[in-house]
Symmetry: C2
Subunit: 307 residues, 2 copies
Amino acid sequence: MAVTVVGSMAFDAIETPFGRSNKIVGGAATYISWSASNFTRPVQVISVVGGDFPVEELDILNARGVLTEGVQIKKDRKSFFWSGKYHMDMNTRDTLETQLNVLGDFEPVVPSGYQGAEILMLGNLSPAVQLSVIEQLNVRPKLIVLDTMNFWMETALSDLEKVLQKVDVLLVNDSEARQLSGQYSLVRAAKEIMKMGPRYLVIKKGEHGALLFYEDHVFFAPALPIEEVFDPTGAGDTFAGGFVGYLDHTKDFSFEGMKSAIIIGSAIASFCVEKFGTSRLKELNRQMIDERVQQFVELVNFDISLV
Amino acid sequence: MAVTVVGSMAFDAIETPFGRSNKIVGGAATYISWSASNFTRPVQVISVVGGDFPVEELDILNARGVLTEGVQIKKDRKSFFWSGKYHMDMNTRDTLETQLNVLGDFEPVVPSGYQGAEILMLGNLSPAVQLSVIEQLNVRPKLIVLDTMNFWMETALSDLEKVLQKVDVLLVNDSEARQLSGQYSLVRAAKEIMKMGPRYLVIKKGEHGALLFYEDHVFFAPALPIEEVFDPTGAGDTFAGGFVGYLDHTKDFSFEGMKSAIIIGSAIASFCVEKFGTSRLKELNRQMIDERVQQFVELVNFDISLV
């Protein structure tokens, strides 16, 4: 069993109402790998970095069972850089600066050793790159999960629609679901989006939890109310990583299986926001994750007997 | 058993992205009474209206077991009027016009027949009015529930603090909880607010559900994702009405009892938003409510066995 992950490995500089980080290691594939490798190995990464990316970061991922043969290193160029600022409503952020650098002309190559992975996790990237990875696979993975964002809906909708037709699960946030579907009601938005390809739709609502839609069913997972909401960067990717990592472990791709995977994703994401960057994810162990999952169970547990 | 409700009975004119209402009957006490009377009787209302308020509205409430002896009718004056506009994000709204009219100098009088109610529901009104009602009661109710809003935090904080010291449960939305406590994290906000008096804090998050805090415990109830989010006016009051109505029925004021009451409140509130004003509430019966409660159970039900 294996999960192949495509996504950025990059530098971020983050400002929140509670502090400001230096240029730190981030990127969708980084967060997804840290998170997924709690549940399954290997996690096989496809990405691109510049000569400025610290090799130690790849080394510690390798030591966790994350393979990085598919990470291209462009020695004479710079890694993708993003800088952003969060306001008191941590669900919204302003981009201060984006330097595409090596990501601008990224042509992903799937190493032959990566073939046969049962799950493909397409982290947020250009739909053309995501499509290229799908097309390089000899056998279609049992599950393809797609993360994307409003930027691609605005600049590459046609390519995005092609990717949507090829995936099983789409992860987007609530405003993106509304934008993609043209529907305000999330129930209606989900119906429209599921016509575009994905059988499952996960709508991420940040501190307000996540919704899972499948046929006529809907499941809601809350976000854990936590004292230290410090830096939301990477929380969505961490969620995605826990989601696919756990699914690769259980191999239960049914609606019930997806529910559990969402709880796991939410539990790990709730750690991510407690410190800058990947710091908190590096401290995790399975017992800590189990305890937090138990908190989710208690959070939504009720027993009602109508009168 | 009885619930005494204090709040406005009024006219609203509402504009949403989906339509615009004429001047229709609204007000906190109206919504609370419609909602609570599904579960308990009598509901005893204390309010004030002008000669323009349709007596038929009081008659149909009376027929449901809602007592209106405490509703003062000022024949030569006009009822409170509010007009507002919702944007695509139905969680925020702009007030277009407020005419206090009879509410401007409202001096509540508790009829002697209302004495002895076990629950007092203080709907959103001036803290001075809320305080006056508490002081007119011969015996302290077993449960006092307070709804308030940011306006009173800004204009009558000292009075509001006095009321807070006398109540068991506070209902506010998330931004109000942050404003009242000066804390961004809702967990920290809850701790601060519970020091001000209430043992229980319910943070209403509109379409994102509600949180219940009690000592070190927290419970989350989602809002039901619904296709027709038509008009959110009164949803918070409808929630409060279901909450106190159900509590008066069960008499279980424990944390577990509060959880159930929040699910009931959420279920009824999910009907309220489907049509303008109280229209949808007037169509409800217990079977419809039961079915929706069952949808809540399914919405959050999951069975996770960590690996």
